[in-house]
Symmetry: C2
Subunit: 313 residues, 2 copies
Amino acid sequence: MPDLSDVAAVAGVSKATASRALNGSGLVAPETAVRVVAAAARLGYVPNRAARELARGRTGIIAIVVPTLDNTFFTPIIAGAQARAEEAGLQLTVAVHALDSADAVERLSRQVDGFLVVAPRGTDTLVAGVGATKPAVLVDREIDGMTSVVADTATAFGALTTRLAAEGHPRIVYVGGPEGSWQDRQRTAAVRDAAQRAGAELTVLGPRPATFVAGVEVTPSVLETGATAVVPYATSIGLGLLLALGTRGVEVPRDLVVSTEPTVIEALGLEHTPAIDVDGEELGRTAMDLLARQLDGQDEPGRQVRLPVPVRG
Amino acid sequence: MPDLSDVAAVAGVSKATASRALNGSGLVAPETAVRVVAAAARLGYVPNRAARELARGRTGIIAIVVPTLDNTFFTPIIAGAQARAEEAGLQLTVAVHALDSADAVERLSRQVDGFLVVAPRGTDTLVAGVGATKPAVLVDREIDGMTSVVADTATAFGALTTRLAAEGHPRIVYVGGPEGSWQDRQRTAAVRDAAQRAGAELTVLGPRPATFVAGVEVTPSVLETGATAVVPYATSIGLGLLLALGTRGVEVPRDLVVSTEPTVIEALGLEHTPAIDVDGEELGRTAMDLLARQLDGQDEPGRQVRLPVPVRG
DNA sequence: GGGTCCGATGGAACCGGTTCCATCAACGAA
DNA sequence: TTCGTTGATGGAACCGGTTCCATCGGACCC
């Protein structure tokens, strides 16, 4: 297995120059750099991570903290972050942690350069604690002073509600998300506001966990309200609703419009059913970008990015 | 931040002795060891991972290769592996890769101590290639000579079919999984065999991707067969089926029994619907255990573990 | 009592990079 | 022509552990 001295020898330069050439420090003569890169490629040289870490005092590892992997909302975020990490020469490790206590993260903190934090719940204090020791980017939640990227679903939920009301739904139900969820607070407020403006009657049910089973369980309550449209906090809840409605003989969307996400709507061929379209991968990519810039010193902490969320269908 | 020399100085010994004492090599006088450990504790010493890696020639990182994160079958495996990795003092990184080519894995190979490979598809040659350079454990698939752990779903699918036939379903449909899937081949064979023994008529549809949309799309073909029970390859396909059946007014399970997984069956309150119960986390835990033992030299490569899969409901 | 063996310990090399500092050649300016 | 400056490069220290090898003192044996 070739190491840096081998590359240097083949290229006819010293280890120091080889190192500089491969890291693009710009202090090397262009032709020398080319020779070194060619030598590295020919030998199939891959730098030893541990040695680099030791010398640089950086690990090159980023941890993404997610509350669970069982929710399809989080996994695209991970995939997006992973793709970007690879491009930036960083490794991503996934830490499943609900952030209801601080210790597990503290241990991790010594082993990584930074954090991507997906924490829909948990108190501001606990979540902000993660960013205290190492650079961190908050995903789909905002806390003052912390860098974050969120999908602007609040605006989208508002628009969705306006649209449903305009399409002739005088009674609408919003099925809320998990207790203490930051996004749920935003969405509830937006939906309430939109319904009021449009003169529609709104019932808010919840809080509910963002699971399939919760959607099934909430179905009777939804039907009781006599509403003709329901807007669930999460796709998983919407799927549960759709399934339970099917077994009860309620026809969708004739008797009740259920707004989930475009892929579901399209697959089932549902008419008159608007839905919001969150790009989770983009969320992950953006978060990793922000963190990488922060690690390079190109960005100061505190930047807050909002990605627009379209309403489709 | 204290380092090993600090600990050694406080304990009044050399770095060499301090290192031995902290790693429990047994070559140190008991009282000396106690003194060193106490010094380390007092200083709050945490060993530098990079330095240890460099000296030992091991990275302490394991990569789990999965084809996608969008499938709820894989995520519990990751969670289980992650939990076990943490216990063993290893870091887990998730690599999303379909294993349809070799290069991406080759690059990773230098950065990790071993692989957990979840590759339902991909040729034996490509998959085995991952294990060529570093220790690897195959998850939910078997290849001669490679260590592996699989959920014995073939047996479970067979039992399920036998049971459905015994409960009065003369016509059964099996909706197959992705093209080239190892598990799909096992299951198809088991289902065929069981149906034949029981004298039931079996239709095999597929191959189909293991997605929700595929389940929706296959629904008309399922209904055409006139079967009274359907066994889908994956839960996601089953959910698609259930949804599509609901919108078509087919009553489940009266008109058609759809076998998915126990949580779904239970949530919807479906009667007479047996389902298999795969413990994905256990799969991940076991795989990580096998790999850890292999890295420690306690196990030879090639061990094949099969986890039993119960049929419930 | 002298020699041998063994357990405990210390010194120093080593893992494979990065980076500070010194060197050197070439070039422009005086 | 000579000196100062700049850009490219090499030598060597260093990051923080692990581990080989040598040393040393004490116990045991003949």
